[in-house]
Symmetry: C2
Subunit: 225 residues, 2 copies
Amino acid sequence: MHKNDTMSANRTKPARMPERVNSTDRAALGHLLRETSVGHFAFVEDGRPVVMPIAFALEGDSLLLHGSTGSWWLRRISTGIPVTASVMTVDGLVFARSAFESSMRYRSAVLFGSCTRLDGEEKLAALDVVTDSLLPGRRPELRAHNRKELAATMLLRMRVDEWTFKNSTQWPEDPDEDIAGDTWAGVLPIHTTYGEPLDSPDLRHGIPVSASARQLAGRHRVTTP
Amino acid sequence: MHKNDTMSANRTKPARMPERVNSTDRAALGHLLRETSVGHFAFVEDGRPVVMPIAFALEGDSLLLHGSTGSWWLRRISTGIPVTASVMTVDGLVFARSAFESSMRYRSAVLFGSCTRLDGEEKLAALDVVTDSLLPGRRPELRAHNRKELAATMLLRMRVDEWTFKNSTQWPEDPDEDIAGDTWAGVLPIHTTYGEPLDSPDLRHGIPVSASARQLAGRHRVTTP
């Protein structure tokens, strides 16, 4: 996938803050897409906008989406119509000395592309990538898919043709006359972490928490760069 | 705003899990919209889908959006074209005994409507609602807006005509033969919390952290119902 300046300038004209101007940092985009498991996927239906949250995994320059074959919106975007996805994480609140300068620290990506449906070996491989991404370390603890489950699951690859990425890591940027005042200014970071594993009510007695869940427990889910 | 079953059935056909079928719980929708400060707003531009993250505040049955008057997408949706917003929070990972049954606990809303631009007294009042929502308790600590700041800020009200809401609070739902096995199953909760306030590099010596930031520090940003 590549950043197309002409298209991105057309579609996402930079906001007023220099820090928020589209970055060419492909590595930072990858970082955001790897640790953010849900995107908001938009398409056009009867001339009107539809947008749905869908879990995804990053694979190279594509996103892998999966879901039920009964999902009408997955079926709709599987036809190859234009799809745009928005992925964002809020990393902190910026307490400036005026409401006007107050803002957020965030990372945001908008991805333009289209989807194709995967089948056969390609679908099986993609399912593994999705599982490893959404539940790291879990796959070796699970049995293989059965035929019925595979038939009920749709796998789509969204090829990303263009993207924009914004990374706001700013501090308050107040005018001198506000800095000279008595108002505190700073940043309140926001952390997303995993809590302690909860046993399923139907868990048989004596089965310990699996390694994959233990490894994640207490760890940051989203890490700021 | 009201839930239109005909439209919502058309636009967001229920997923396969009964727990994920559209809920009529208006209170739970309000809860999600109050504690989730960013939505992903989609519209149609030249026949193609565009979707952008925008901070919002809930006011009655409407969402209030604000941003720079220089933002082309805010100007675009201010014309009253159809806008659809997706708001979601992931509350946990569901570790089932197969990849197929594994999923997430989440709350998700899709809101259909259109925007109008606010001016004069209405704009001033809406700005206060937005500030109080995005930075609770901060407004009394800040000076008033000046004329230049107001002129550079756009305020939109999105009237929500229809909505769907899904609340997945499920535990693993495995078939009996999987429950009989040795694989652990359960839920790993996800918490979003505020960290400790960080002073701005340009903060004058001796100014203590303000009450609004102190009050949020260490608290959950997103609370599961």
